[in-house]
């Protein structure tokens, strides 16, 4: 077992951890750093429940090694709210009842934020294709899409 020391930034804070060289970033987040907001639904990059950002880019943390975080900035669901104030996307997901069981919700929010950071005015089709890697089995996506469109509108200040 090769244990590696890694220095990175998570949700704006300097973090150091040690991990096995074969350990996924998702396992590091959940098991070593106790950030269990990122979920494991498939461990093969198909469900998106483990979505995080790596230097602002959306990735599946189950497809990334913990050691790859060295020197980079990681964003997780735990860092989306601003202190005690929910992010607009989080609030809109609540307002639109855009969750049922809630297991996919952290991944959806991280993915939606990555989209709106890049494209503040996506159309419905762009949102649907961007979220095609985030499986939701409960909602049929309708309310999720509406919530994200509404969040985008509010973030743009329309």
């Amino acid at each position: 077992m090769t244990v590696v020391q890694v220095a990175t930034k998570i949700n704006g804070d300097e973090v150091e951890f040690i991990c096995d060289s074969s350990e996924t970033m998702l396992d590091v987040l959940r098991d070593r750093l106790h950030l269990t907001g990122s979920k494991e639904g498939c461990s093969s990059g198909d469900c998106g429940a483990c979505s995080i950002t790596l230097d602002g880019r959306l990735v599946c943390s189950c497809l990334m090694l913990g050691v790859e975080a060295e020197g980079h900035e990681i964003g997780t669901i735990e860092g989306v709210a601003d202190g005690a104030k929910l992010h607009i996307i989080q609030q809109k997901i609540l307002d639109h009842a855009a969750l049922q069981c809630g297991i996919c919700t952290p991944g959806i929010i991280v993915a939606a934020k990555a989209l709106l950071d890049k494209n503040p005015n996506p159309n419905e089709s762009e949102i649907r294709f961007w979220l095609a890697g985030n499986l939701c089995r409960c909602t049929g996506y309708d309310k999720i899409i509406r919530a994200i469109m509404d969040a985008a509108r509010e973030m743009r200040g329309d």
């Binding site: 979920k39 989080q90 997901i93 049922q100 069981c101 919700t105 649907r128 890697g133 909602t139």
Partner: protein, 773 residues
């Protein structure tokens, strides 16, 4: 034209983006009641935790010193276990426990669950558990699995339902003799049971028909596809007491089954329901929970087991596949004279396929003089089936609603008019026996007919499909308690895990009953040691049963608060009434007292008799059945066979929508799962009896870009079995889509499709067949 047999409806707009159609001819128990909280759309109490990542699901709990549990699974679909040698695995440093079937109570009450959680003598499907280890980390646990030596004697296998019913099929259980026959057979069979329902004389009915259509249908097995894999953390201590933290639809079920499987006193086992990341019926039984508990008991350390996605597909409950013949006869003017269906349900390695529900629900939408359904519950070398949203009904309805569609086309009658001519109404005898009381099928059909979706134009290669669906709904054992806190707020403890927002609806009903704001109520899911037994969250029962129990518990607390006010005012309790959250003197003779709020009464509780609580325990009866009608437009690409869902509308009777947003969510989610079942999803088996697509990449559930917005119409025909008129809404939504998408695609492709899923190759083949004809 007089197609409407059962009443008139008024359309009323209500809610943000939903049209509510409200029956005004009979408000029954709900009277003209004006609701204050019920019917609004407040934020759910668990919502913030779920958008911040704080909510703790099955895999999110840890205990000091916990071990990792892993299960060794059979690579063979059917084999005798000649021997298991765990010696080397036990010797590996870091391994703390290894278990086999010998570690479970062989006299456990449910022998099928016992043999499914850990194979006994024989493995019956690829993925069947044979042993398990607990080790200090996952690497050691995986290495230990490889050190377990199993000597298998491979047996011939069968995974297809029709083949499993043949005389010379490999037999899974030597002690299984077909039930439900006039004579008990003398040879074992893979047919566990023959179910039959119906009434009248179908031969006479078919003789009276001007047109008869008979078709064969097949549907593939599908998985519930919850995004959260099964996960549990079991901790057993040296004195034999234990706790399990688990994502489940029924923690009381987990407790009772585990206690039986491990021969424990129920009182020594406490089960805590975590947040649950989807279930849809698939989390209504146990898989890894007794295994983790047995491992923990062996070494007195906490053991966590989390299934991989591959394990979820291979070893947790898919639903049945089905093979069927459906025959329906009708007169020229569109009256069905007879309906017949024979259906073979493949339910995996143990009996319990939802053949009975399939047979009961197949023709439930229609008032028929002559109807007969026969359904077989058949075992095969596949994982043991589990419930999946309206078990049995989607496939049975698929066959019937496809033939109904074809009849309407052949008779040149509008498909909604055809259904209205035959639809069940209050007072009609159902195809499965009982008479229907207050039901809303006709209301959903009329709402569909009036919807602009139904009247919108279609383009080239596009087709429109409709179908109706039915589900029984369930009540069941329920026990709820609530406490009035010192400040007059209320905590409600229910024993039914919340899989779709039920805590919000239970808070709403409690607030309504007390006459206080929604924000003053908090609902929690109490553990198994804190409440009496509750049936599992299933059968669309929670908002109905736990909600009604909360209403009854609130009424008891209100009675108590009226007594306290009477005591305080020194008047008789009959002179106190409860109104809008206040105890008030009732009538002029009661005396002139300032009304007491809940907060004031609660603050004085310790001086007037102690804590104020209410509880209610019962077997909930009166769960009203539910009907729905769906409309879909599809477009078929003639070159690739790909289907696009262009527009979708769900219309369903909710009785009374407590939280309309979550009712809509159930409608939309059911429709999406049904679309996946119709178009993509399927368990694919090779000749080797092994599952070929045990991943979300190869078992493709609908993604956001596969679907359009899903429009919803909530019909409200109150259920007289509930004080507010509620009927369950969770399951009916998955019943129509299989047939309705097939009807739409058949119209778009110009050829009748009778096999699911309608994947591009299947559609292309059908289109090519048409060209070659």
């Amino acid at each position: 034209m007089q197609p409407v047999k059962c009443g008139v409806i008024n359309n009323m707009a209500s809610g943000a983006d939903t049209k509510t159609v409200k029956e005004d001819i009979n408000n029954r128990m709900t009277g003209k009641r004006e609701f204050k909280v019920v019917g609004t759309r407040p934020l759910r109490p668990d919502g913030t935790d779920k958008v911040t990542g704080r909510a703790r699901f099955g895999a999110d709990a840890n205990l000091p010193g916990q071990l990792v549990g892993k299960v060794l699974r059979s690579p063979h679909p059917h084999a005798i276990i000649k021997s298991i040698d765990i010696t080397d695995a036990l010797k590996l440093a870091g391994v703390k426990a290894v278990i086999t079937s010998a570690d479970f109570n062989k006299n456990a009450k449910d022998q099928n669950v016992l043999a499914n959680i850990m194979a006994r003598g024989k493995v019956l499907y690829e993925g069947h558990a044979v042993a398990a280890v607990a080790a200090i980390n996952i690497k050691i646990a995986m290495a230990a699995l490889k050190l377990i030596k199993i000597d298998y004697q491979i047996l011939p296998h069968v995974t297809d339902v029709d083949k499993a019913m043949l005389e010379d099929a490999p037999i899974l259980h030597d002690d299984m003799f077909t039930g439900g026959l006039d004579k008990i057979p003398n040879k074992p069979s893979n047919i566990a049971y023959r179910h039959e329902f119906g009434h009248g004389d179908i031969d006479a009915g078919f003789n009276a028909a001007d047109i008869i259509i008979e078709r064969n249908f097949k549907t593939a097995a599908t998985h519930q596809g919850y995004i959260e894999p099964h996960s549990c953390l079991a901790s057993s201590s040296e004195d034999g007491q234990a706790e399990i933290w688990v994502c489940t639809q029924g923690h009381f079920m987990v407790r009772n089954l585990c206690a039986s499987l491990l021969d424990m006193d129920i009182s020594k086992l406490r089960v805590i329901a975590s947040e649950i990341g989807g279930g849809f019926g698939g989390k209504t039984t146990v898989f890894i929970e007794p295994v983790a508990l047995a491992l923990s008991r062996k070494c007195a350390k906490p053991v966590k087991i989390t299934m991989t996605r591959e394990e979820v597909f291979k070893a947790s409950g898919p639903t049945s596949s089905m093979s069927a013949v459906v025959k329906i006869g009708a007169t020229k003017d569109g009256r069905i004279t007879a309906g017949f269906a024979k259906m073979n349900f493949q339910g995996g390695a143990f009996k319990g396929a939802p053949a009975d529900f399939g047979a009961m629900s197949a023709f439930a939408c229609y008032a028929l003089e002559n109807v007969k359904t026969i359904a077989f519950d058949v075992v095969t070398n596949r994982p043991k089936g589990a419930a999946y949203r309206a078990p049995g009904a989607p496939m049975a309805t698929y066959g019937v609603e496809s033939v109904v569609d074809e009849l309407a086309i052949k008779l040149n009658i509008d498909p909604i008019e055809f259904r209205l001519k035959n639809a069940v109404c209050a007072g009609d005898q159902s195809s499965y026996g009982p008479k229907f009381s207050d039901i809303g099928l006709v209301e959903t059909l009329n709402a569909a007919k009036a919807h602009d979706h139904y009247n919108a134009p279609l383009g080239k290669n596009q087709g429109r499909g409709i179908a109706c669906g039915f589900w029984f709904n369930f009540g069941g054992a329920t026990c709820t308690t609530l406490n009035v806190n010192a400040d007059g707020t209320v905590t409600v403890a229910v024993g039914t895990p919340d899989i779709g927002g039920s805590r919000a609806s239970i808070c709403q009903m409690t607030a309504e009953e007390f006459g206080i704001p929604y924000e003053n109520i908090r609902a929690i899911i109490a553990d198994t040691s804190s409440l009496g037994y509750n049936d599992t969250t299933e059968g669309s029962r929670v908002t109905f049963s736990s909600g009604m129990a909360a209403i009854m518990a609130a009424r008891k607390a209100i009675n108590e608060m009226c007594k306290r006010a009477a005591k305080f005012w020194d008047i008789h309790v009959d002179a106190v009434k409860w109104e809008d959250g206040f105890a008030k003197p009732s009538g002029a003779n009661a005396g002139d007292f300032t009304p007491l709020s809940m907060a004031e009464i609660a603050a004085k509780a310790n001086y007037t008799g102690g804590p104020i609580a209410g509880h209610h325990e019962y077997n909930a009866d009166g769960a009203g059945v539910s009907f729905g009608t769906h409309i879909v437009d599809t477009m078929v690409d003639q070159e690739t066979g790909k289907v696009d869902i262009l527009r979708y509308t769900v219309i369903q009777d909710a009785g009374k929508a407590i939280h309309p947003s979550y009712v809509e969510g159930q409608f939309q989610g059911g429709a999406a799962q049904g679309i996946g079942w119709a178009l993509n999803e399927e368990y694919i088996y090779g000749e080797d009896g092994k599952l070929q697509n045990a991943s979300f990449l190869d078992y493709r559930i609908p993604v956001a870009s596969d679907l359009p917005m899903i429009d919803t119409v909530i019909v409200e025909v109150p259920n007289s079995g509930h004080p507010y008129g509620v009927r369950g809404v969770g399951e009916t939504g998955i019943v129509p889509p299989l047939a309705e998408v097939a009807n739409s695609v058949s119209a778009a492709a110009g050829v009748r499709l009778t096999k699911l899923p309608m994947s591009p190759p299947v559609i292309l083949k059908a289109i090519d067949g048409l060209k070659n004809d």
